[in-house]
């Protein structure tokens, strides 16, 4: 039902370009590395994509309103370590997870307050909380891994239902819900509206505050969910968990055609962006490219994606 191909032909073409890039990367890595196309590796990629993908759903909503949240990586860390600590102290895993999700929602809502009520630039507000949350992660964990969880908790990150890894199922559920919210609810409509034209939205009776609080709140909660999945996957609460993940998530969302100007982009396409990033990251590891070089490559990919978005925007405005 994505009949509203926003931006018409050029956007469709650019999504096509991303798909072609994905295929080229797939071919490239399967030729140059051994075992890239093996079942284990494909599942590896899927699980990695799942962790980023859950947070990307929230990030998509935030970016559609014209904002950004660069604290998601730190949020994953806090969620991971908090959840781990709660469980180690004897809390039931289900309760621990729920509490951590609430924490994510609360911190995200606070972002909404900074952005809407105080009027901070989203980049700066979340830069501050990025540092705060990472610090808190180290304080809670004392800088050491937290481990020793109840049995069964690892299902979230490592389990399978049939042949499909549980994290992938969680991601797909998040995407379906995200799609439903954005495409089928009035809240989702206002998310696009506020991103397209905030003043026109206000003058059309939209409660802009609710929308901003909502997207940042959801983004925080989904990042916390990501953190929980990550925790379960590695089975220990690492203080460094999620560090610099915001980079991969934002890049995936932008590659998926979500414009940083706001108001444009469809969540379905974000999956392609995520897959592209997942394949790229995994392929580089398989090729034994050192982490330092990987960072350089990732930076360039983000620059490229954002420049492409801005340039096509400019071209569209000239018409």
């Amino acid at each position: 039902m994505n009949k509203k191909g926003n931006g018409g032909v050029s956007k469709v073409l650019s999504q096509f370009a991303i798909l072609i890039a994905l295929i080229i990367l797939l071919i490239f890595f399967s030729v140059t590395t051994d075992g890239f196309l093996s079942t284990t590796n494909i599942f590896n990629i899927m699980r990695q994509v799942a962790v980023n993908g859950i947070a990307a759903v929230g990030m998509t909503m935030v970016i559609v309103t014209g904002g950004i949240d660069i604290s998601v990586g730190s949020m994953m860390g806090v969620a991971s370590v908090c959840c781990a600590t709660l469980m180690v102290r004897g809390m039931h895993p289900v309760l621990a997870v729920l509490l951590v999700l609430l924490l994510g929602l609360a911190i995200g809502t606070a972002h909404g307050c900074f952005v809407y009520d105080i009027g901070l630039p989203p980049m700066i507000a979340t830069l501050a909380t990025m540092s705060i949350l990472r610090g808190v992660t180290y304080i809670i964990s004392g800088g050491l891994p937290v481990y020793g969880f109840p049995e069964g908790f690892n299902v979230i990150g490592q389990g399978y239902i049939g042949p499909v890894p549980v994290p992938v199922i969680i991601m797909v559920i998040c995407f379906v819900i995200g799609w439903f919210i954005l495409e089928r609810t009035s809240f989702g409509r206002y998310v696009y509206g506020v991103g397209s034209n905030r003043e026109a939205s206000r003058l059309s009776g939209v409660n802009v505050r609710k929308v901003i609080y909502g997207v940042y709140g959801l983004c925080g909660m989904l990042a916390a969910m990501s953190g929980v999945v990550l925790l379960s996957r590695v089975n220990s609460g690492q203080p460094k968990a999620g560090e610099s993940y915001e980079m991969d998530i934002i890049t995936a969302v932008v590659l998926g055609g979500v414009s940083t100007n706001g108001g444009e982009g469809r969540i379905g396409n974000v999956i392609i962006g995520l897959l592209l990033m997942g394949v790229l990251l995994n392929g580089m590891v398989m090729m034994n490219i050192p982490d330092y070089y990987q960072r350089v490559v990732k930076g360039f990919v983000l620059l490229l994606a954002i420049s492409y978005d801005k340039l096509s925007q400019k071209r569209a405005n000239k018409k």
Partner: protein
């Protein structure tokens, strides 16, 4: 007769087929104050922009000090000695007065700024103009009037020969206006020519030697100011035929349904109005008179300092557009691109936007219902589109306006405020909008209409309130309204 400083010879300017200026010839002598008057849309701004090189005339020539200006541009005009003071001031608030005056032409010694010298020079010019401003102060600490003087000082420091002042007194108090006139007088003594644009006709008689009247882009007359009076000037300014046919009223006007009492905010100084059921109330006034601000205040788009709103005899508090819409008030804003439309979203998104609740159940949009509603208004408004998902920015101005109107019709509001509903759309679409307004009235809705096009306002309104300077200065009933009367109140 002295040599002409600036001459405009047979200037015409067309914007994609629309004539903004037609064969205008005026001239100005050194040390002369020439005032330029005309209604909204008479072509004053375009004329200024042609002189300052921001627009190129389609036809005609500009001559400066006996020489033809070739390839005019803002930089060229500045070089020749033409300065402009716009209504919106262009200054860096965090820099000092002296830094602003010398902005972009700092006095330097090597790479070091000669701060002291710039400060002294600034103070010197300020004193020469008889003003009293400390050049070391930050601009943000100054009043609007003082900031304006700094703009003038800045222009004077560039050795100007012609200063164009676009409504310089609009934001000023009476005593500040006196000071401004004093400065104009001093500039004139320095042999600077002044082209003065004002909506306050008293000022025209106060300071100018000659007056140019523009109307509909045409030069009506240039007269020595002492040879005319206010009445004559207004006659020259209007004199337009009503031309267009306006649909006639067929229903009765009912009781008062909206009452705004003593509205005060940043732009409004104690405004009150009443709107009756089934009435079209016109709000007249020149640009900046406070009409849009009044509409926004009623709609809850801008906060009020004080004032009361009564709907159907009950006091209500409207704090946001959201409140206003739930009370059945809609505002069709004048700026449809920035305030009306979601340009990069589809027609369906736009039409259902202000009334999404009606097609939703528990926050979930019923797509079928939404499409039905959109279709209904697209058909009712006869909007020409090729698909529901077509982006609003791809439509023509008239069709865009119809999308905005469709959005508000979909809210089924009983009070609609139309702010410049026909701006920038073609004649056919205009008459459709007039028909629509009549139809709404027949359905028992009430309308407040703001328009700068007087014939349209007179043709459509049952009653007209005239605003000037944040106040309502007069009320004119349908039977006795004339353009002259409106202008009389609007320039008071």
């Amino acid at each position: 007769m002295a040599e002409k400083l600036l001459e405009l010879r047979h200037i015409s300017k067309k914007f994609s087929g629309v004539t903004a200026l037609e064969d205008v010839s005026i001239d100005i002598e050194p040390g002369e104050v020439l005032t330029l008057v005309g209604e909204n849309g008479a072509g004053k701004s375009t004329l200024i922009k042609v002189i300052t090189g921001a627009h190129h005339p389609t036809e005609g020539e500009l001559w400066f000090e006996g020489k033809k200006i070739e390839n005019n541009s803002p930089a060229k005009a500045k070089e020749l000695g033409i300065g402009v003071i716009y209504q919106e001031l262009n200054m860096m608030p965090t820099l000092t007065v002296a830094e602003n005056i010398f902005y972009g032409k700092e006095l330097k010694k090597g790479i070091m700024l000669r701060r002291k010298e710039m400060l002294e020079k600034s103070n010197e010019i300020i004193q020469e103009l008889g003003a009293n401003i400390d050049a070391s102060k930050r601009v943000s600490e100054l009043s609007i009037a003082e900031q304006q003087i700094v703009e003038i000082v800045k222009a004077v420091s560039e050795d100007i020969k012609l200063l164009i002042m676009d409504e310089p007194t609009a934001p000023l108090t009476n005593s500040e206006i006196e000071k401004m006139f004093d400065i104009v007088e001093r500039l004139r003594k320095r042999n600077v020519a002044i082209l003065y644009i004002s909506h306050r006709l008293e000022e025209v008689f106060r300071i100018s030697e000659r007056t140019v009247v523009l109307r509909d882009g045409k030069h009506v007359i240039t007269v020595p100011t002492r040879d005319i009076d206010r009445q004559m000037l207004i006659k020259y300014m209007v004199g337009r035929e009503l031309g267009q046919e306006y649909p006639a009223r067929t229903t009765e006007i009912g009781e008062v349904i909206l009452k705004a009492d003593h509205f005060v905010n940043e732009h409004l100084k104690d405004c009150s109005l009443e709107l009756k059921k089934g009435e079209i109330l016109g709000l007249a006034g020149l640009v900046g008179a406070g009409r849009t601000e009044m509409a926004r205040a009623i709609f809850g788009a801008d906060p009020l300092k004080s004032g009361e709103l009564t709907l159907h005899g009950k006091k209500v508090r409207i704090k946001s557009p959201e409140d206003a819409i739930s009370h059945g008030i809609g505002l069709i804003t004048e700026d449809r691109k920035n305030q009306g439309l979601l340009l990069n979203q589809g027609i369906d998104y736009n039409v259902s936007y202000a009334n999404l609740k009606s097609v939703c159940k528990f926050g979930v949009i019923n797509k079928k219902k939404e499409t039905q509603v959109t279709k209904k208004y697209v058909e009712a408004m006869d909007i020409k589109i090729h698909s529901m998902g077509q982006m609003a920015k791809t439509l023509s101005g008239g069709n865009q306006q119809k999308v905005v109107l469709g959005k508000w019709l979909a809210t089924n509001s009983e009070i609609l405020i139309f702010d410049e509903p026909t701006r920038g759309i073609d004649v056919g679409a205009k008459s459709e909008i007039y028909q629509l307004m009549r139809r709404l009235i027949e359905e028992g809705k009430s309308i407040i209409m703001i328009s700068s096009e007087m014939p349209e306002l007179i043709g459509m309104s049952d009653r007209i309130l005239v605003m000037h300077d944040g106040r309502i200065t007069g009320e004119i009933s349908d039977s006795e309204v004339t353009q002259e009367k409106i202008l009389e109140f609007a320039t008071r």
